[in-house]
Amino acid sequence: MAEVTSLKDAIAALVHDGDSVALEGFTHLIPFAAGHEIVRQGRRELELIRMTPDLIYDQMIGMGCARKLVFSYAGNPGVGSLHRVRDAIEKGWPAPLEIEEHTHAGMANRYAAGAARLPFAVLKGYTGTDLVPHTRVEPIECPFTGEVVNAVPALRPDVAIVHAQQADRKGNVQLWGILGIQKEAVLAADRALVTVEEIVDELEPRPGAIVLPSWAVSAVAEAPHGASPSYAHGYYDRDNDFYKAWDGISRDRDTFLSWAERWTATAPTR
């Protein structure tokens, strides 16, 4: 059963230095509050896994939490670069960053294989691209037809963290709107934390929603507005102005650091 607890206690209990950690949410429901709490608690040497690192990993990498990034698209969609990720890859600031990159299809299948406790996933794609010599993908022959497809290794993070709209008091979780890869990430991981907009007495069933039963989750923490500046369908919109402003904030190391000090280090603990 999930423990319903504070975000501070949940991060302290579930995320340790050196862990592989997947904070997922595809544009929608990105767990920013949890990422900021990880920064605040000074976690180091993390292997950060995420299809689209987005602003949250730009911030965590800029603050020195990570030693490795596993990803498939490291941009600020519609705006441009993730300058902190680039600075880490190109110049090793604030620390060298090892990278392992895939395609979206590859990452999605890696999570699904992890959730199913399979050693690898198969897919078409990758063939003929320069990703092949630079990442972990191997051709494999179908034992039934002889067709050659590509295998990518399963993802099994130590911890998955996702954000959802609601949980009930027992820790059952419901999320809706763009569903992304959250269910797969939670079920692929050894431990899972879900932050939620609100804890309600009873979850109202919604068509097309994902329900994560309490017993499939380690901890649930209330974090209102915890996905901002991404969004929570039914609660608040994506703060596109902030995504655009981030380009200026993050471009320069000092501007970034003074932002980070104000917003992640000294923001009130939830």
Binding site: T27, V85, L179, I181
Partner: protein, 231 residues
């Protein structure tokens, strides 16, 4: 050029490539702008799919990212990410892939990963995202990219996505189509010369014998594009 910019010409020309009723996997930025321009005009029945898992999105204003809430609210269906790539894209149900890139070569291969060497990059670009599978697993690929010696290169710094047999490339100078594995300039936008196109290309560009002149954007097309961008 009078009354419209090179980028507007490019976007309008790209929109014209999309046919009504086609199912189209859309990248963010210029592809999304062009696809929504097509949907608002000659192709109202086009089905737009974004990689966040929205099928049949009909956004009322241009999304900044591939997962804006409007895309989900206006969609026929919203599916998880593994499903959009496995069942719908890899399952062969998508007609057209609509992609941008940082570099393109004569075969139509695309780079969206890195400028310079992979291990010591000059500019680290966002990376693959959905592009390699979109390029490989749709029936037809529309690429939209500004044409210059920096973008039209003899050798890519990184081959992120492969050129497709049925591929059209729309630039700010004209239109190229893949003929027997190589891009040929088949149309030039009004006021653009073959010489200009060759100069903006890092390989010995073939210009088709009967190279056409693109029809300039109509007033209606321009008005629709500007309205879309200001919404």
């Amino acid at each position: 050029m009078d009354g419209y910019s090179a980028d507007e010409m490019m976007t309008v020309a790209a929109a014209r490539e999309l046919r009504d009723g086609e199912v189209c996997f859309v990248g963010i930025g210029l592809p999304s702008t062009a696809a929504n321009l097509a949907r608002g005009r000659h192709a109202p029945g086009v089905v737009l799919i974004y990689e966040s898992g929205t099928i049949g999105s009909k956004p009322t204003r241009l999304p900044l990212s591939i997962g804006d809430g409007d895309l989900a609210e206006t969609a026929d269906a919203v599916v998880p990410v593994p499903e959009i790539f496995n069942y719908w894209l890899q399952g062969g149900r998508i007609d057209v892939g609509f992609l941008g890139a940082a570099q393109i070569d004569r075969q139509g291969n695309l780079n969206s990963t890195v400028i310079g060497s992979y291990d010591e990059p000059k500019v680290r670009l966002p990376g693959a995202g959905g592009a390699p599978e979109i390029a490989a697993l749709t029936k037809r690929v529309i690429t939209i990219i500004r044409q210059s010696e920096r973008t039209f290169v003899d050798e890519l710094d990184f081959k992120t996505s492969l050129g497709a047999d049925d591929q059209v490339v729309i630039t700010d100078l004209g239109v190229l189509r893949r003929v027997e594995g190589e891009l040929v300039m088949t149309a030039l936008h009004p006021g653009v010369t073959a010489e200009q196109a060759r100069e903006a290309t890092g390989w010995d560009l073939e210009v088709a014998a009967g190279v056409e002149t693109t029809e300039a954007p109509t007033e209606d097309e321009l008005a629709a594009l500007r309205e879309l961008k200001s919404a």
